[in-house]
């Protein structure tokens, strides 16, 4: 660093090293700027900006502003850009905003203003150009940071304090802005428990895939008569219409199995009864909105199999729709 500082003492022209650095990094910085402006995805432009900032940090260093260079990297590239990225996350990264102009003539105006501004600025600088420049040699004599500090805490102390205040205010303001008032009271544990008991089912919900040929979340569990059980269907899947239908065959098998088991126990099982119903249930499918009527599993007995069947098959229906 100190070597660089001495190099900066040159009067009319900087060191070739710096020149090289400039000519290499400068275009990159510009490219970054362009990227910031032109990238369709906000994340990308954020990254470009970050790049530009780093390069700028380099230039700061090269200009003998060591402190600022560091600050640039730490605060800007480190903190601010991260903040940007966080917000991007909040807002949704995936959204790629189109560069198609909506305001009439805005693009041309913008181009005009930008060009005009740029040309004027450059012209102005060119006009004000002085051949020579005094380096920061003696300014940075006892270290750049010390120099800054001495200025900061003497001449600019008031401004410094004020900026402090400003930062505090900003922090408070930000929290205020982003703070979300919660309207309802948080439920205590006791209340939650009470709800559970007073609710529909005390036991945990049945897992899907009971009596299933292959236990998969997208297959409803079957009730003893072979009709699909509502509760075993996952709401999300149903919402997406991804519940697979239970094949008739398997339903029949289940029924047969039951019958055999009954015979083995020496009981008479009127297995014939459910089959046709379930079959009919499978063919005569109700509309999805009817399926909204979710029946209570506890009385999901032979009496109400019709409805359950219908609901069961609704899922399949939806599945078909989804596939089409």
């Amino acid at each position: 660093m100190s070597a660089l500082a001495t190099a900066l003492a040159a009067e009319t022209s900087t060191s070739t090293g710096e020149a090289v650095q400039f000519w290499v990094l400068g275009p990159l910085a510009v490219a970054g700027g362009l990227g910031t402006v032109l990238m369709r995805r906000a994340v990308h432009s954020a990254l470009c900006l970050a790049g530009t900032m780093v390069i700028l940090a380099m230039f700061y260093l090269a200009n003998g502003a060591y402190f600022l260079g560091m600050v640039q990297i730490v605060v800007y590239t480190g903190a601010v850009m991260m903040l940007f990225l966080f917000v991007l996350m909040l807002v949704g990264v995936s959204a790629t905003d189109s560069l198609k102009e909506t305001l009439k003539g805005q693009r041309w105006l913008a181009a005009g203003c930008g060009l005009g501004l740029g040309i004027l600025l450059i012209a102005g600088i060119g006009q004000a150009s002085v051949g020579s420049f005094t380096g920061l040699a003696q300014a940075n004599a006892d270290g750049n940071v010390q120099g800054l500090a001495s200025l900061l805490f003497t001449r600019y102390v008031v401004a410094f304090e004020v900026t402090g205040v400003l930062l505090t205010i900003a922090a408070v303001g930000a929290t205020l802005l982003t703070h979300r008032e919660r309207i309802e009271r948080t439920k205590s544990q006791r209340e939650q428990a009470a709800e559970r008991v007073r609710g529909d089912h005390v036991p945990p919900l049945p897992a899907p895939g009971v009596y299933a040929r292959h236990n998969a979340v997208d297959l409803p569990g079957l009730l003893p008569d072979g009709t699909p059980a509502e509760l075993t269907m996952i709401e999300t899947l149903r919402g997406r219409g991804q519940i697979r239908e239970v094949h008739r065959q398997s339903v029949a098998d289940v029924a047969a199995l039951e019958a055999r088991a009954a015979g083995y126990h020496g009981q008479t099982y009127m297995a014939t009864a459910p089959k046709p119903r379930s079959v009919t249930a499978l063919e005569t499918t109700g509309r999805p909105d009817e399926s909204g009527a979710v029946t209570d599993p506890r009385d999901a007995g032979p009496g109400t199999t019709g409805t359950t069947g219908s609901t069961g098959t609704t899922g399949t229906e939806d599945a078909e729709e989804a596939r089409q």
């Binding site: 105006l109 005009g112 501004l117 012209a123």
Partner: protein
Amino acid sequence: MESLIGLLVGAPLLGAALLLVGGRRLDRVGHWLATALAATSFVLAAVLFSDLLDREGEERVLHEHLFSWVPVADLRADVAFQLDQLSMTFVLLITSVGTLIHLYSIGYMAHDERRRRFFAYLNLFLGAMLLLVLADNYLLLYVGWEGVGLASFLLIGFWQHKPSAATAAKKAFIVNRVGDIGLSIAILLMFTTFGTFAFEPVLDGATGASEATLTGIGLMLLLAACGKSAQVPLQSWLGDAMEGPTPVSALIHAATMVTAGVYLITRSGAIFDAAPDAQTVVVVVGAVTLLFGAIVGCAKDDIKKALAGSTMSQIGYMMLAAGLGPVGYVFAIMHLVTHGFFKAGLFLGAGSVMHAMNDEVDMRRYGGLRRHMPVTFVTFGLAYLAIIGFPYLSGFFSKDEIIYAGFAKGGTEGWILGGVMLLGAALTAYYMTRIMLMTFFGEKRWQPDAHGHEPHPHEAPLTMTIPMIVLAFGSVFAGFLFDSGEAFVHWLEPVTGLEHGDSPVGHGTVGLAATAVMVVGVAGAWFQYGRRPVPAVAPTGRLLTRAARRDLLQDDFNHAAFVTPGNYLTRGLVYLDHKLVDGLVNGTAASFGGLSGRLRRVQNGFARSYAVSMFGGAALLIAATLLMRAV
């Protein structure tokens, strides 16, 4: 003595004010009060008259300065009176006839619930008329002039519920206003020329002014006279004015007001004498009107309108005489006075006839009334003889003098004028005889009116007959009195001056000629209306007759010339004012609104376009600074 003049004018005005303000509580005594006040002013007039008679010819003038009216810088308009022979004559005529007609109206308006107002208006008229003839400057005269106009407006339109009456009143006022322009311009000219408009300085100084100016003044005065005296071309109102109650027609539109024009011309004699061109115009106007009125009078079946035509014609005589200058002034006034008597008599007679016939005015519905209403018949007949110039009745003297004066103009003009007037005399005899025959002779032609009332003619009440009788006396003897020893001439001479023009034809010849044409006229009428029965519905006569029935198309002309274009003009202007003048204003407002609306578009709410303007501004600023540093 002078102070009496104020009272003379004041009495009737006071009456008018009292009756108008007094309200209903005066309903019962109102008419008597008004009549009493009119009589008062007549008495005062008589007193003043006697006072004047005591004086010598030149001193017969009284001045009464009441108060200074409008003093501004060197403009001095005073309320001051001047009573000389001329005004005295008028005052006597006005007050006497006025009083009589007040009396008459008591009977005539007996059944009208607004009688009090009627008398108030009559008094107002009397006061205004006296103001007119007594003023000692033209401005005050103008006040009286408009005052009588107002009174005539109110009285013509007295039966306001009749649209025809209201229209007639309006018409009369407007036409008179047109004349008034003339008077006001004349006054303005006088002021700019002489720096005053009091009679004496103006008339004395008249010779000092340029003839052009004087001609201007004269013509303007003539215009005014035409308006008031219903002379061509401003005559159109007089016929319609007959919508008013008959006493009004008698007092205002026959005896007094309409003669104000003659008074004005005579009063301004000095000016006219110095402006011969103006005089010529006066004469022409008089001659034309004379024939015009006579012709109209021959054709009308409405008795009052026929008489109105006669009035125009007679005033034409006076105008003509006045236009002849000092030769004629005296006789103009003389004829004016006699005419005042007999024409008032005629109108009152007509009034009593209408009174008897349920306000029927169509002479074709009369006939044979002489048996039913003898007094009316006799008085009317006497007035009739007077107007047609029956020898040694009042009309005879005055008219013959005028005709003589016309001849005295000399040269071809003299012959023309004389001829015209003789023709007029013949016509007068004709239409008057016509009226006479259709009204009082022949068999009765009246039928039940709209309500089925069979009119049963009866003689009018005393209050109505007495005035008629008095007036009849007047019309019989006035002329004789005036002529005896040229009393009237000597009386007026100091004011008007007098010349005895030498005419190619002597007095006697003129008298004979006049009598001759009169006989011709009477005979003509007799052959047409006396011998054969009068058809109850007017036959569609010859073109002239039809035109005459329509007042020789005067109204049609006015309508086509002024009314219709005026209406279009006003409508057009209203449209323009709304669309153009107002439109311009609203247009400016609207354009501003539109502009701001467009500017508002710039504020489209999009942060980015604001940003554009921001950066644009920044760029401009930089450019500016650079330029500053460059230069």
